[in-house]
Symmetry: C2
Subunit: 189 residues, 2 copies
């Protein structure tokens, strides 16, 4: 997605040698028009697949997933990172290690909102080590729903998450794939 790549080059910046910050339009401040375009891109890539629900994880995945759900005309479910005291029903859970937050969290989804009849598209903002995506895939597997694919805004192709998912036979579509950070510069794959 050219518009996204341009924006990453304009507004993204690196911290250390592996963390890309895109807080000005995706992870802290949101650019609604750009995110709407992301929704259209994903909806185009996964059109006519019979998708019944979008699955993401709070918080940064919600905005993009919402726009995909709007385009495809299906509900969006976001996994919660902490089981709220008001969650009294049965849940699916998976453990996810966050490399940026340096902690393990359990994500959970109520069994009400994923059924064996569902065809699920997973949407998330970043794919790097693959921890969050693996957790979401595990939740889909637990629900016995069909996983149609995984849509990622920014994939760091030099980290193993994407390859691992593809080797499992999962269709992964990324709007921007970063091949390397070289001398403080972003190089797309």
């Amino acid at each position: 997605m050219e518009l996204l790549k341009q924006r990453i080059l304009e507004d993204g910046y690196l911290i250390g040698d592996s963390i890309l910050k895109v807080d000005s339009f995706l992870n802290h401040q949101l650019d609604p028009e750009l995110i709407k375009e992301m929704g259209r891109e994903f909806a185009g890539k996964f059109a006519n697949q019979g998708i019944t629900r979008i699955l993401t994880v709070e918080a940064s995945g919600i905005a993009v997933a919402l726009m995909v759900g709007l385009e495809l005309g299906v509900p969006v479910v976001f996994a919660k990172k902490k089981q709220p005291a008001t969650f009294v029903e049965d849940i699916y859970t998976a453990d996810v290690y966050s490399f940026t937050k340096k902690e393990k969290v359990s994500i959970c989804v109520s069994k009400r909102y994923l059924t064996p009849q569902d065809k699920i598209l997973i949407i998330d903002d970043f794919l790097a080590m693959g921890a969050a995506s693996r957790g979401l895939v595990s939740i889909v597997e637990q629900s016995k729903a069909e996983l149609v694919g995984v849509g990622i805004v920014i994939e760091k192709a030099f980290q193993p998450g994407g390859q691992e998912l593809r080797e499992k036979g999962i269709r992964v579509e990324s709007l921007a794939r970063i091949g390397a950070f070289e001398n403080g510069q972003i190089v797309f794959a």
Copy 2:
């Protein structure tokens, strides 16, 4: 907003005597079309006010705030509940006690995304005791931006949060105001 009230009556349910769960369309699963309509409602109420940014707090506020931002053509900033390891810049912070999660969290916003020149609309999903809204108002005050108003999806009018904000002279607009839970039934104000 009639569409929302109907949906609350159809899909909402009570836990104990003060917690309303609307997980099927707002807090866990999202109904993109309904949330788009909420965005339109808020955009109509706060049109022509010169709003430059929407402020909300992760996670449940993001979806509605995004749709308001899309309608008004302005960016959306979501306060984070935990300062990420990748946050290296100056931040505004406020402490917020969550009555549903039974814990105090610090919310934070980077100083990059709120400036004294901004005219801010705060958007959140629920207003009950007012803890989250107070935290967001405090962050706007710290930034010296102008607070145009607060838009709330569901206000529990029988709890003091809304009244406190209005007594401070803040314009509060709620799409649905609940006056009471009587014998397990939802009564609108």
